[in-house]
């Protein structure tokens, strides 16, 4: 017990120490000397923090736009992906082939997918804000659905040896096999998939904003400010993007512990 406590402290303290060291090197410009750069491209932490403090309303507005796209895309994508995997598991004959095709979506870069989806949804609404949000959400949902369907399909079909045979020997019907065996078996796989999906949803939301018609979002602000040589402001938004990524991952880990805690080990 004591040892685990010590190792736990170590696992928090070491990264924290590293972060403090990095910030120290950064603020004192030793980092700039090491990287051969200057405070224009890599502004000092205090300068970046000042911008964060000065613009709470604007940052909140952009963060809200990014979050709404990210979370709705994540939710829709996960439900869709899980639905696909259930269908694939129920109809294994075409299921594995279908998933192979869906897996191909994984290879399509977001930068290629985003403009295509934005062009396809031009007629979705007369309101540019609405159709931009729809386009961005579709991109996030598509990418999440792909990862979820592949992950969950594994959970639904990769059963304990003989577990399915055992249930069949009890004369269990397909529905019972699904509810009692496949569904519970897929839960840890869902979380494994989510570990990939949550960061994917953040990144795809940020990048899709680059191409959207409506100018809003953390990702868009990063890109626009870099193009305009406003690196300090771009860094401020990069900090926000990092915080969003870390926070959403932390929430996922917490949810995993609460839901999987005793029954499933990952």
């Amino acid at each position: 017990m004591e040892q685990s406590l010590r190792s736990r402290i170590g696992s928090v303290a070491l990264p924290a120490l590293f972060a403090v060291l990095l910030l120290f090197l950064w603020q004192t410009q030793l980092l700039h000397r090491m990287l051969g750069t200057d405070t224009f491209v890599l502004p000092l932490p205090r300068h970046i923090a000042q911008i964060l403090v000065d613009n709470p309303v604007k940052i909140a507005e952009n963060l809200r736009a990014t979050c709404s796209v990210m979370f709705s895309g994540l939710a829709i994508g996960c439900l869709l992906g899980y639905g696909i995997s259930v269908a694939a598991a129920l109809f294994p004959k075409w299921g594995s082939g279908g998933l192979r095709v869906i897996g191909a979506f994984n290879a399509v870069p977001i930068v290629a997918l985003a403009p295509v989806v934005i062009n396809l949804t031009r007629d979705a609404s007369d309101d540019v804000e609405v159709r931009s949000t729809i386009a961005k959400t579709i991109v996030v949902a598509l990418l999440c659905a792909v990862a979820m369907s592949i992950g969950a399909y594994r959970g639904l079909t990769d059963l304990q040896p003989f577990a399915e045979d055992l249930l069949k020997s009890y004369a269990a019907d397909r529905k019972t096999v699904f509810l009692k065996l496949r569904l519970p078996n897929s839960v840890p796989h869902i979380f494994i998939a989510l570990r990939v999906i949550v960061p994917t949803s953040v990144i795809s939301a940020l990048i899709t904003e680059y191409f959207a018609e409506h100018v809003i979002g953390i990702g868009r602000m990063i890109r626009d400010n870099i193009t305009l040589a406003q690196y300090a402001t771009a860094w401020a938004y990069i900090v926000v993007a990092c915080a969003l990524g870390i926070a959403s991952y932390a929430v996922l880990m917490l949810a995993q512990r609460l839901i999987c805690g005793r029954r499933w080990r990952i």
């Binding site: 911008i51 409506h214 040589a229």
Partner: protein, 378 residues
């Protein structure tokens, strides 16, 4: 057996996907060709009645702007290209909202943007003309000119860093001398200039390149010496920049308000370069690079002509022209020393200097704004 069926399913679905994507591509190409040939038909089909689907031919700039802004269909590319539009919107008391416009004119063609930003030498030509890549609207479109509206800001210039200029004054003068010679020739012979640019890796068709060269020649303005840095036009650009460039970085915003023309440009290099009769300089650095703001096209024809005609060689320079495109920040490239010279819009130079660069304009190639807001009539 199971595996085989799975594989077959995969193949069938793949084929379906391919077909679907081909179908989409095909149909979009069709509409493009259709609208290029008969623009009236496109107008008729989108509105309830064929008459009055778009703006009236004698509508004033204010009427057009107000109507398009009310519908939320005013377009611009953003990324520092929007300040003139913002000034125009404020001039007529309209909200400072615009739609992010793509780098093609499909949004304008499909009416998702009713009042679109266009450069006279590029997008406007694509909208009006019916050569390859054009939309062929001919005289069914009109446009609002920033110069007429009094909200013009200076665009393509030639800049370096103050540090580089002070360390290599002869190189700077030699480069200005040869470049302006190239621009002078190009402005006088736009057709030949277009052909030269096309040979150097053009991003557009030869017809469009020729059109562009003609329009750029107008912006260069043969009535003044090429590269003239007009005080009044520069001051108007700086004043508008201070009003419409919004920076979240309070330190940079403060620096922006404190900027004067002397922080942005130095006319002495250009004056000494143009005063030279024979162009004999002794450049400190002979291998130099220039970063363009965009893809190779007649927008930058002066530099390509100078290269092609050997003007750079004559002054003892070995010049590499580096095309831009997309997210390449020419201000950052020059500031970092990746390149020695750059072409940018004065407003972009202003915001970079506000953020802490020490960029220095050494010549102003375009004397007028090339930005217009284009709309359909009828």
């Amino acid at each position: 057996m199971k595996k085989k069926i799975g594989l077959v399913c995969a193949l069938v679905m793949m084929a379906a996907l391919l077909l679907a994507s081909c179908g989409g591509g095909g149909s979009s190409a069709e509409t493009e060709i259709g609208s290029a040939e008969v623009p009236e038909a496109a107008g008729g089909s989108s509105g309830a009645g064929a008459e009055g689907a778009y703006f009236s031919a004698d509508a004033t700039a204010e009427e057009v702007l107000t109507a398009a802004a009310t519908e939320g269909k005013v377009g611009n590319w953003g990324l520092g290209n929007e300040y003139e539009l913002l000034a125009l919107l404020e001039k007529y008391g309209l909200p400072d909202k615009f739609v992010s416009q793509a780098f093609d004119m499909d949004g304008f063609d499909e009416d998702s943007v009713l009042l679109a930003s266009a450069m006279t030498y590029n997008e406007l030509g694509l909208v009006v003309n019916s050569y390859e890549g054009g939309y062929g609207y001919g005289d069914t479109v009109k446009w609002i000119d920033m110069n007429d509206e009094g909200v013009a800001m200076l665009e393509d210039n030639l800049f370096t860093t103050r540090e580089f200029a002070e360390a290599n004054p002869e190189t700077v003068k030699a480069f200005i001398y040869a470049s302006m010679k190239g621009w002078e020739y190009a402005a006088a012979n736009p057709e030949e200039a277009a052909e030269i640019v096309f040979e150097y890796g053009s991003s557009v068709s030869p017809e469009h390149q020729a059109y562009m060269a003609g329009e750029v020649a107008k912006l260069v303005d043969a009535s003044v010496p090429v590269g003239t840095m007009d005080e009044a036009a520069m001051q108007q650009t700086l004043d508008l920049a201070k009003q419409y460039i919004k920076l979240d970085d309070s330190a940079a915003a403060e620096a922006l308000q404190a900027l004067t023309l002397d922080d942005l440009r130095d006319t002495s290099y250009w004056e000494e370069a143009t005063a030279s009769a024979d162009g004999s300089f002794s450049p400190e650095k002979t291998d130099v690079k220039i970063q363009l703001k965009w893809l190779p096209q007649a927008q930058f024809m002066g530099y390509y002509v100078a290269q092609d005609k050997g003007y750079y060689e004559e002054v003892g320079l070995n010049v590499e022209i580096i095309p831009g495109g997309g997210d390449i920040g020419e201000t950052t490239a020059v500031k970092n020393g990746t390149v020695d010279f750059g072409v940018t819009w004065v407003s972009n130079l202003i915001s970079a200097n506000a953020a802490g660069t020490d960029l220095l304009e050494v010549a102003q190639v375009y004397q007028k704004s090339g930005l217009v807001m284009v709309y359909k009539i009828g």
